[in-house]
């Protein structure tokens, strides 16, 4: 009706919204009526000449007291029922709901499917299929909030809680943690991806990647991630400094940070540098050179990277090929803008790792206001951002570098993203003004 809570993504969303609309209308009417009466009295009974006029000694009226006790009571019963009714739906998952295990931890969400498939920070579900999330926490309280589905439940260590929803449309939606959990609370986000059924089945069955990674020993896992997560773009294995320090003989090394303090590259230093790269920057390297991998790597994966770095002691030459382009998962969404949004937000594509959507400067230029912007390039020339420029920048990132940024974007998208994908992305970027 009023559309106050935005897009409706679940079957029961309309019920919540109806209750919300009813209470909104009643509240507005009551507030306007009471404040209106007060202002009306204030105007017509004001002291006109600054002096008291005679007033009646009215001490009360029992009929009125009864009316304004009974009337609000009836209204309360009605809206209480509406809220109750919606709540019953929210708490009653159907028997055929697909169960997904959810684990909250500081500060990311892990998901596990019945067939063993695991994801982090990305919950993928099929449309028109009830989904029940069985949730627990590894550390402190968290809360799993999916605004578009109108549901939320706290996630508690030492016990299971649940929430459920039946998605009614495909798309890419925001998930928030809404129970305060410490430093990175506001970064404890996840994406909810609702796919068409067939596509979801394909996605769920595709466990080649997971199985391969699960069988690896930690240092080999780290080696895979080195290429897969694009560490390779900025950190060499042969001692040459790139955007970031080389990993060769890096473990145990001591040195100086940008602020003059000393550091030692141990396990905790590596972990911090991956999750919060700006906390400590090695002297001589750009302060904003690396994006945070918060929420993109599991603890096991971080350990894998640490173990991999430990193996680079110089005793043997290690070479890693940049990863062969892998086709991006087909983007969900009915319109080009929706598909483009899904592609940009796809963690596998890593776009928003380096390009912000809000105008803030990360490793690369922000996507906000990008379309049509005049950019000054490092060779001094100027270029207006159009479709041709964007396509070139994605497929051949090194061709044109905006002044103030480094040539650090990996050339991994040619073959990974189709021409059609690029057009969708461009349509989405146009909306970010």
């Amino acid at each position: 009706m009023l559309g106050l809570l935005g897009e409706q993504g679940s079957e029961f969303a309309h019920k919540v919204d109806f209750a919300n609309d009813v209470v909104t209308i009643i509240s507005v009417i009551c507030t306007v009526a009471i404040v209106g009466a007060m202002l009306y009295f204030a105007v017509i009974y004001r002291q006109r000449d600054g002096k008291d006029h005679e007033t009646p000694m009215i001490e009360g009226n029992n009929t009125l007291e009864v009316i304004w006790t009974v009337f609000p009571t009836l209204v309360c019963i009605w809206v209480a029922w509406l809220g109750y009714d919606a709540f019953v739906d929210l708490r009653s998952p159907p028997a055929d709901a697909m169960e997904i295990n959810v684990t909250g931890r500081k500060w990311a969400w892990d998901f596990q499917y019945k067939n063993g498939k695991k994801t982090t920070s990305e919950l993928v579900v099929p449309v028109d299929q009830p989904v029940k999330l069985i949730m627990t926490s590894k550390d402190v309280l968290h809360s799993f909030f999916v605004p578009v589905m109108r549901t939320k439940m706290d996630v508690i260590p030492g016990r299971y809680t649940y929430e459920w929803f039946k998605p009614i449309k495909t798309g890419d939606f925001q998930v928030f943690c809404t129970e305060y959990c410490g430093n990175e609370h506001s970064k404890m986000l996840a994406r909810l991806k609702v796919l068409p059924k067939a596509e979801f089945e394909r996605w769920l069955a595709d466990d080649s990647e997971e199985r391969k990674l699960a069988a690896l020993k930690p240092s080999d896992l780290g080696k895979e991630l080195y290429a897969g997560k694009q560490c390779i773009s900025c950190h060499s294995l042969d001692g040459t400094p790139r955007v970031g320090p080389s990993w060769l003989k890096a473990f145990g090394k001591e040195g100086e940070l940008a602020d003059g303090t000393k550091y030692k590259m141990d396990e905790n230093y590596i972990r911090e540098s991956i999750l919060n790269p700006q906390a400590k920057t090695v002297k001589g390297y750009p302060a904003m050179g690396m994006p945070s991998y918060q929420g993109q790597l599991s603890d096991d994966e971080i350990t894998g990277i640490v173990e991999f770095i430990k193996t680079l002691d110089g005793s043997q030459k290690v070479e890693v090929e940049a990863v062969a382009p892998k086709k991006s998962a087909a983007a969900a969404g009915a319109t080009p803008v929706e598909r483009g949004k899904a592609l940009v937000h796809d963690t596998g594509n890593l776009c928003i790792t380096c390009h912000s959507l809000d105008g803030s400067k990360l490793v690369g230029p922000s996507f906000k206001g990008l379309w049509g912007r005049k950019e000054k390039l490092s060779d001094g020339s100027e270029v207006v951002v159009d479709a041709a420029y964007i396509k070139e920048s994605i497929w051949k990132p090194a061709a044109k570098i905006v002044e103030g940024y480094g040539p650090v974007m990996p050339a991994m998208y040619e073959g990974k993203l189709t021409d059609e994908n690029l057009n969708d992305i461009i349509e989405y970027l146009k909306t970010l003004q």
Binding site: D52, T55, F87, S143, I156
Partner: protein, 542 residues
């Protein structure tokens, strides 16, 4: 007092402000009126501190991305500080300990509270609690004012000290409550029957009962948090068979009734101001009294409405939702009665009346948005979003703080013996009222859009509303600064002496001189009429 002092002061009457001088005469005074000022001074420090923390946060949140605060930890510390300062150190002791102290004996026709020395002791207990709390901020706490376990039992900051400070502050609150209960029972002037008590006294009485009964529970809870941190007691630790949700229950068992500690006295203030400036008896006095007591009673059994999505059973959620609606009804009754009081009145718009009318509007918003949060299916969506933030700021700031500021203007002539500056006060009122709404109306919309609270940073889609809210916060802060400086300035340099009864009120505190003498009344008054005896008894109204 000696003849000598009387001549020394010439025509100037001796009053509680000047009958003894020197800083020590204030710090060691057992006079309830002076203790009011001790509290007022102390709580204002924390009001200003908490306010500055809020403005820094709003500045950070004005735009998406990091602005002036470089790390989330500092932000988390700031919202904890804002909450702890505002709740435990400003609003909870705010109206009861300042206005309650000043007004209860005066309004019931007593020389002082029942236990004047205990009263001073309560103040120093407060000071000790405040000092420990201030010391704890050296390794600042980042748990939020709610201290939820297991975050609070595991974080690396000085939670134990802060919680201990809150524990001590609780004692101050209990002792003050006890003192007021006995005072109201025992020290009423001849003829001051229960049904002749001003509604502010009834509200203070209800508040004192809550303070005395609920505070021990939070004291116990806070001790358990300390036991958990120091000795690993395991009460809230699931790996030892404990339960973090228990902490939430215990916390809200106190912290929900505490909302009524904050706001009931403000209801009382409004109930005093509207009749005086309308020249009408308070409409439905008995219902207003009954509704205060009903709110205090029902307020004890609604705590779990803070926990609909906390993992309590669905049955509990339903139960607490229904009970919560019971609070809405007495609150609505009060609003109807205030507005009806103005009917056929002779209304003048002095600053306190403007605040009281603003209060009615703000409290309508607070109350109706409270209904959203009592509705189960709707609260699931709004829980821990900016909608809740806006709702409780309308309740606590729009209710309790506006009530306090209204009272400081209304009783200013009695407290200081001078008249406040009407023009400046009205200007300050206008700015802070506008600023307040500009701050928090956008936050309701943010909540509807799903923006979670306690976020250091947010997705760009929320930016416009946050920017507007920040502008509102600056205006709001400026309005308060203006209002308080105006009052302080007038108290010190004001030239206009207040008469005994500038508003022509019938209640007792206005019958003695302004400011009152040391023991309030030169002779104990005898009461022979209702507290709001305005209007003409046989006036024929069409």
């Amino acid at each position: 007092m000696s003849a000598h002092t009387e001549t020394a002061h010439g025509n100037e009457e001796l009053n509680y402000l000047n009958w003894k001088t020197g800083i020590w005469s204030w710090l060691s005074s057992t006079d309830h009126k002076r203790i009011c000022f001790l509290y007022l001074f102390a709580i204002m420090i924390f009001f200003i501190g908490g306010g500055i923390a809020a403005l820094i946060m709003r500045t950070e949140l004005a735009f998406s991305g990091a602005q002036i605060i470089k790390d989330p930890h500092t932000y988390n510390v700031l919202f904890t500080m804002h909450g702890v300062f505002m709740i435990f150190l400003f609003v909870v002791p705010g109206i009861p300990a300042t206005l309650g102290n000043f007004l209860i004996p005066l309004m019931i026709g007593a020389k002082d509270v029942a236990f004047p020395r205990l009263n001073l002791f309560s103040f120093y207990v407060y000071v000790i609690g405040a000092l420990i709390g201030g010391y704890a901020m050296l390794n600042p706490v980042d748990t939020g004012w709610t201290f939820y376990a297991p975050y609070s039992t595991t974080t690396d900051t000085s939670v134990s000290l802060m919680v201990f400070a809150a524990f001590i502050l609780g004692f101050s609150s209990i002792l003050t409550g006890l003192n007021f209960i006995v005072t109201i029972h025992q020290l009423r002037a001849p003829g001051m029957t229960w049904m002749r008590l001003p509604v502010f006294i009834w509200a203070s009485y209800a508040t004192a009962v809550i303070q005395t009964v609920a505070t021990p529970v939070v004291g116990m809870t806070l001790l358990l948090v300390i036991a958990e941190r120091m000795f690993g007691a395991g009460i809230f630790d699931p790996s030892k068979g404990g339960d973090p949700v228990l902490m939430e229950h215990l916390f809200w068992f106190y912290s929900h009734p505490v909302v009524y500690i904050m706001v009931l006295p403000a209801f009382g203030v409004v109930g005093e101001i509207i009749p005086v400036f309308s020249r009408k008896p308070l409409f439905g006095y008995k219902m207003v009294v009954i509704s205060s007591m009903a709110i205090a009673a029902v307020g004890f059994i609604v705590w779990a409405h803070h926990m609909f999505v906390a993992g309590i059973s669905d049955f509990s959620a339903k139960f607490f939702s229904i009970i919560t609606f019971l609070v809405a009804i007495p609150t609505a009754i009060k609003v109807f009665n205030w507005v009806s009081t103005m009917y056929k009145g002779s209304i003048s718009f002095k600053t306190p009346m403007l605040y009281a009318m603003a209060f009615v509007f703000l409290f309508m918003v607070a109350g109706t948005t409270g209904i959203y949060l009592a509705m189960l299916g709707v609260d699931v969506y709004y829980h821990d979003t900016y909608f809740v933030v806006a709702h409780f700021h309308y309740t606590i700031q729009g209710g309790a703080v506006i009530g306090l500021i209204a009272a400081l203007h209304f009783w200013f002539p009695k407290m200081t013996g001078k008249m406040y500056n009407e023009t400046a006060s009205k200007a300050a009122f206008a700015i802070l009222f506008f600023g307040f709404n500009l701050t928090f109306i956008p936050q309701f919309i943010l909540g509807m859009d799903g923006m979670p609270r306690r976020y250091y940073d947010y997705p760009a889609q929320y930016q416009t509303l946050h920017t507007i809210s920040t502008i509102g916060a600056y205006l709001n802060g400026f309005g308060y600064t203006f209002a308080l400086i105006n009052l302080l300035w007038t108290a010190k340099f004001g030239k206009v002496k207040a008469p005994r009864n500038p508003y022509n009120s019938v209640s007792l505190e206005w019958q003695t001189q302004s400011p009152p003498v040391h023991e309030n009344f030169t002779e104990i008054p005898v009461v022979d009429q209702d507290p709001y005896h305005y209007g003409t008894p046989n006036h024929k109204h069409a």
